[in-house]
């Protein structure tokens, strides 16, 4: 069964209010919370479900990709804790007002946000791309998909 949940766009300063309003409508369990970096924009998304029915709501907020921050919802949804930590670590988004944001997987202080489109894909830069040469020997496409020119300059 495929079920699609409409995305509701929320302004950053209404994030907590919108999430608690969803909870008041019955969707009071955090299924997941994560972020999406489309290169043009950075979004945080949360999927809230009503465990008593199959109903769910998906809230989305566009963030400032230079200084991404948003209020934490952990005081209202304790189940968001792990997701906010992971999203902080992977996308460099600060969740304001929460007690701890210590890293789960990567060393703190590296300033690295591996799931941001700006994070260099080192292995892709160093590994020879099998798609570079064509039959004529001409290099039709210089860079593999997803690899930015500025990552290769100091090679």
């Amino acid at each position: 069964m495929t079920q699609t949940t409409a995305i509701i766009d929320i302004a950053a300063d209404e994030w907590v209010a919108a999430c608690t309003a969803s909870a008041a409508r019955g969707c009071d369990v955090v299924d997941w919370l994560t972020a999406v970096d489309t290169a043009e924009s950075l979004f945080v998304l949360v999927h809230l479900v009503d465990p008593g029915s199959s109903r769910s709501e998906m809230l989305r907020c566009e963030l400032n990709s230079e200084r991404p921050e948003i209020a934490s919802i952990t005081s209202w949804f304790p189940g968001a804790d792990w997701h906010e930590r992971e999203t902080h670590e992977m996308f460099g988004i600060d969740f304001l007002g929460r007690s701890q944001t210590n890293a789960l997987l990567i060393r703190a202080g590296d300033g690295l946000s591996p799931l941001r489109k700006t994070a260099p894909l080192d292995a892709r830069v160093r590994t020879p791309w099998p798609g570079q040469e064509s039959a004529t020997g001409r290099r039709r496409q210089k860079l593999p998909p997803g690899v930015r020119a500025e990552w290769t300059r100091d090679e």
Partner: protein
Amino acid sequence: MSDSTPQRNVIALLPEACTSCMVCVRECPSWCISVESHVEEVSEEGARRPRTVNVLDEFTIDYGLCMYCGICIETCPFDALAWRDSFDYPSGDRQGLRQDAVDLSRWWTTGS
């Protein structure tokens, strides 16, 4: 998807259909396909000048890297790749998991 859709077990190559266009090589997210080819001129009767065609020299899939996403099969503009049901091809070493054009084309007819 019908019941007759082959499982994602092994990828078969039909070398006669492959034009060495490199589309699959460039789209493969795992970078596990490699194609070697050269250009030949073909003169045809009545044609004013010879046509140039790509001739496939080698086609390799490294099953040690493949994640069976099927993107190569979906994107091939010439239907030169297809799933086959066989799964009896593991190898004890990395090199044995690299299948060349001879290995891959054998699946086309024998892969059930």
